[in-house]
Symmetry: C2
Subunit: 170 residues, 2 copies
């Protein structure tokens, strides 16, 4: 499938089949994150793949009890190893870097017939504790990954004219 098809087919999947992801598929998807660009190519990141069923449940509880998160085949936690660094434009590099890598996961997942969901609603300290992540690092997003069991819905988006301007903010 080409990039545009993957972008159109990507959606937030909130129900997953109880089915394991073959290791070679998971590896290809993680590799898509690994290849992402980052500020000064620092790659200050770690992707923790939560497979253990009990641990998945606990992580889901720490994500405001969104139980579907724990029902995915795995949950990927995107961890920033240098969450203090600001770019000179005053935007935190860590959030941009991790979001680029995890976007590549979402699109690779579509290519593999898998689904994902961006989860930013979780207890930072609790997730760190559950996954043994040192205090100085930061979990940017949690991302369940698995075979979709729900039906696609229509994407609701602003029109292009609303989000694009030429040469000057308008």
């Amino acid at each position: 499938m080409n990039v545009y098809e993957a972008i159109e087919n990507r959606r937030s999947v909130r129900k997953y089949e109880q089915k394991d992801i073959p290791m070679e598929v998971l590896t290809r998807i993680l590799n898509a994150a690994r290849l992402a660009p980052s500020a000064n190519n620092r790659q200050d990141w770690k992707f923790i793949v939560v497979k253990d069923p009990e641990l998945k449940k606990k992580v889901a509880e720490a994500a405001r009890g969104q139980s579907f998160v724990g029902e995915a085949s795995v949950i990927i936690a995107g961890v920033a190893l240098n969450p203090e660094k600001l770019m000179s434009c005053e935007v935190p590099a860590y959030a941009v870097d991790l979001a680029i890598a995890m976007t590549q996961i979402t699109l690779a997942a579509v290519e593999e017939g898998l689904g994902t969901c961006w989860i930013g609603a979780f207890d930072q300290a609790k997730v760190k504790e559950l996954l043994g992540i040192p205090a100085e690092y930061k979990v940017v997003e949690l991302m369940p990954l698995g075979y979709p069991a729900d039906k696609p819905r229509t994407k609701i988006r602003k029109r292009l004219e609303e989000v694009v301007a030429y040469d000057r903010f308008a």
Copy 2:
């Protein structure tokens, strides 16, 4: 080209041909950003496409004088309209949202035979002034977009084993 090919072929392009991008191509690429997910589907973003040659030069000057930025066919400025909002995980939603949308631009560009580069080194206030962006908004990244005129180099990345852990940070 499939998603993996696009991810492998995406690279930081720092030299561009002097060649216009057909409007239909540019529209498809911007649409890839428009379709991106965002926190609570707020889509608090605006993409300013800088086409004017003099303005491109000035923006490049505000990007630490990186002149190649001004030599691309266009420069896309990704603007966050709600840069204060933190997700409950304590990560700024705006940086993640804009990075997702702009990652989709980078991969759509590869699909179209175009190149991009993430530019986070720029003077926030100066770019806002040049593009007429209200003070309360924030430019997350600048992204030159055009036909590549330089040669691909080998991607240097950490090994997968260095960036992936299972169930526990390691």
